[in-house]
């Protein structure tokens, strides 16, 4: 919803509800209404989180996840944008490969986890395989669509002004396609976070995703909830950060309302 505007106007009722939910949760657990062995109160989760942070292990896991998101997303952007540009500029390439891409695109990224494990074992490479493959598509498709959907008249205008082909691409077509490419990059980044967590749960015993599983198996529910909360906060920050950054740099590319 109003992620952009939230900064300028603080949503007090929203924050109040959030606090109320946490308070009710605390009260319910304290009063013993819910008799779940594995359901810690928010205060216990906070304490567990502080414990982990003091240990330094939380920071280490956070850094690992951020690093693999950064590497995976960069690789996906590199492949996605270059192949997307190629597809966008050349109808011939498009005709002879789009069907192959459309067959590969709906493949669920998680399905590559067993393949990654087969090839690389439990390692960062497996994590990158699982992260990169699904995140390539939004960038690639949006880059291709952005270029291919530029009004043909724009190129005609360039030719009228006797711009070279290189100048037309650089000064007219690329800027026109930029909003679409940025939207693709944003979708990819969100996906990269999800897939990095998935990969850490399944294929690479490091990072926040592994932290969740590790604490679950060690029967430390406070620590597990703390990891989940950190992952959620990371998601919110990445979302808001990218949205804020793009609205600052390229205001035209941000949808009028959040979503």
């Amino acid at each position: 919803m109003a992620s952009g505007r939230a900064v300028s106007r603080i949503n007090w009722p929203g924050l109040a509800v959030l606090a109320l939910v946490l308070l009710a949760w605390e009260a319910v657990v304290r009063a013993g209404v819910i008799d779940f062995e594995f359901f810690p109160a928010p205060s216990a989760i906070l304490a567990g989180g502080i414990e982990l942070a003091k240990d330094g292990i939380l920071l280490q896991d956070l850094l690992h996840t951020l690093l693999s998101i950064a590497i995976g997303w960069s690789i996906a952007m590199l492949i996605g944008i270059s192949v997307g540009l190629l597809l966008g500029f050349s109808p011939l390439v498009r005709r002879y490969s789009l069907a192959s891409i459309e067959v590969l695109r709906p493949m669920p990224g998680i399905a590559f986890a067993p393949l990654g494990l087969l090839l690389f074992g439990f390692s960062l490479q497996t994590e990158l395989v699982v992260t990169v493959l699904p995140t390539v598509w939004p960038v690639m498709i949006n880059t291709m669509g952005g270029i291919a959907n530029v009004q043909p008249r724009l190129a005609d205008v360039g030719r009228t002004f006797r711009l070279s082909r290189h100048e037309i691409i650089r000064h007219l077509l690329l800027p026109a396609a930029l909003p679409s490419i940025i939207v693709g990059a944003r979708i990819s980044l969100g996906l990269a976070l999800v897939m990095a967590i998935v990969a850490e749960i399944v294929g690479n015993p490091e990072g926040l995703g592994y932290g969740i599983v590790r604490e679950q198996q060690a029967l430390h529910p406070e620590a597990m909830f703390a990891y989940i909360a950190v992952v959620g906060v990371l998601g919110v920050i990445l979302n808001a950060g990218v949205l804020g950054l793009t609205s600052l740099l390229w205001p035209a590319t941000v949808p009028r309302r959040g979503m």
């Binding site: 009722p13 192959s100 459309e102 949006n142 999800v194 969740i212 990891y227 992952v231 959620g232």
Partner: protein
Amino acid sequence: MGIRFASIRQLMSEFPSPRGLLPAIVLLVLWQIFQSGNSPYFPPPSTWWTGLIQLAAGGRLLTASVATIQTIVVGLVLAIVSGVLIGVLIGMSQQASRALGPLLEFCRAMPPPAIVPLAILFLGYDARMKLTIVALSAMWPILLNTSSAIQHIHPILLDVSTSLRLSVFERVRLIVIPSVVPAILLGIRIALPLTIVLTLLVEILTSIEGIGALMIAAQRNFQSGQVYGLLVLVGMFGFLLNNAFSIVQAVILRRWPPRNVQA
């Protein structure tokens, strides 16, 4: 999300040229020719087929496929029902949407796989847990699209319905449903791949009956042919489900064409 994807539909109209499958076919043929040995990592495509046949012979492939598809479909239906209901409630009331906004925003930004260990802890290893995870995480895009569409119904339309003294039933039928249906469909389009990913993830993690469990078992036994074969099979599931939904979507949108709700 998914807003610019209309552009691919335009490209699709020039696309159904099967010539585009050529690179994939050439690659597979070259792979088959140059990998004649029994490579444990890159087995030739013919072994993918024999791997699948092995699994199918025991009847395991069929039961696993049925279990996986059942989870995807039932989970998606649950997600649609709950997402639309809550989305309508939130969309109707400005206060509710403002009050619940941050909470929902946090739940939406939470990467769905993070709740898998949580659900396992609470619900144990069973089909109920699988469905809960799939429904919970696929619900958000549907919920947010629905509530946003209701909030964007043009006020004049509501004024008109008041002046014409439409009954509540007519108001819903004539104004709310046509405005909301395209948005719900868009939400489902985003949710569908998510349900597939999560179903497989749960199966891989917990080895509960399903294609995901077969994949991870094949990997653990170094049956690389089976791993690749199942990968292709899963890809075909994704392809078929996505296209089936595209057809359903096209049919429904013919009945309720999208309006410019942003107006």
